[in-house]
Amino acid sequence: MKRRLATLVLLAAAAAVLLAMQRHSPRYDELTGPIPVSGRMGEPVRTRLFDARVERVAFARQVVYRRFGSPVMRSTSGLWAIVTVELAARAKSVAVGQAAWEGPTGLLYQQTDRLDFSPGQPPHALDPGLPRQGRFVFEIRPDQAGGATLRLSERFSPRLDSEARIALDTLPRNPDGSLAIADTLDLSAASGGRP
């Protein structure tokens, strides 16, 4: 009787262990996913291919720029978020083309695709020893502005390659502590790096 009970207990334990292993074994996607490199605003974050240092974040209700000499205005139902980053290639030339704004609740905003032919659009081509400024523009929901993280990589969904995850912790504030949001931001004037 006792022996039989022990066998049963052993069986149940084995089943539990197997179930736990089945549920928690990492999937292919996790095993080959991006390798995060974390950092904060203002400090350089070193990934395998490039270094990135987020200089500033700006918010605006609409953005304007010049396309082929004529002005273009882009409104949004949310908020424009403009992140300026200093980028530097490490050992070889690289183009940094993928950025996403990850909100505090995990919502993932890809870069906007609404700024055709605006100056300073990614991908930002980098060469070793020649650091330059790059700008990434997102359209976000206003409640996703605080506590966000910038994800930067060479291409979409990097596999077995590093991805910079930079906490955007120094946001522009009004004197009363609320978020500073410009009514209009001119991307042509604010384009950093190249003319």
Binding site: Y28, L108, R141
Partner: protein
């Protein structure tokens, strides 16, 4: 005597059991075949529809021979335009909405995926971001000679969320299925973007 009887009893029981199992499968199959599918939800202009990844609010539909939101009909063509508000209900930016509306019983409709244009600034296949609803126009090409019906009916198609797929273990949206039917009066013509009383939420 007893062992033989036991054998017979066992065989009898096994036979009855397997017959029952086979019958249950047949009865279930018959039930699925015979029982009518649940009635499709009906939607009209202004009714919010939860279609998997997308929150869809149909606004209006019309047939156009002129350029609409940057899309022009080719020679011998007219365009069926359906304006909807699309809200992304998922976690990440996406443009996987081409299959959400499937018009049917429209004479002369060319098969194939529609062109989807954002109305805020005419942009094709815009990326739509979580929680930021945008008005878009679905545009199908029709033969110029076809007479459009008075009312457009279209199936609303939704995909189902799967926390991980079987191959890569990534979350995703699969298995498109019709979740409702939309009926919109087909106006003769609208000025794109103008005279838009339904814009207010």
């Amino acid at each position: 005597m007893r062992p033989a009887f036991g054998k017979v009893k066992t065989r009898l029981l096994a036979g009855i059991g397997s017959i029952l199992a086979a019958c249950s499968a047949a009865v279930y199959g018959l039930y699925v075949k015979v029982s009518p599918p649940p009635p499709l939800a009906r939607y009209e202009a202004g009714s919010p529809i939860e279609a998997g990844q997308w929150q869809v609010v149909p606004r209006r539909a019309w047939v156009s021979r002129d350029k609409v939101y940057g899309v022009s009909p080719g020679p011998g063509q007219q365009m069926l335009v359906v304006e909807v508000d699309l809200g992304n209900r998922t976690r990440a930016s996406s443009s996987d909405y081409a299959d959400v509306l499937r018009p049917h019983a429209v004479p002369g409709l060319a098969p194939g995926a529609p062109t989807v244009a954002q109305t805020r600034d005419p942009r094709l296949s815009p990326l739509l971001h979580p929680g930021l609803a945008e008005r878009v126009a679905y545009i199908w090409v029709m033969a110029d000679s076809a007479a459009p019906p008075a009312t457009l009916t279209a199936d609303v198609v939704a995909k189902t969320y799967k926390p991980r797929d079987n191959l890569y273990g990534v979350p995703g949206w699969y298995n498109p299925a019709v979740v409702g039917r939309l009926a919109l009066p087909l106006g003769a013509s609208f000025a794109p973007g103008g005279a838009d009383a339904a814009r207010a939420p």
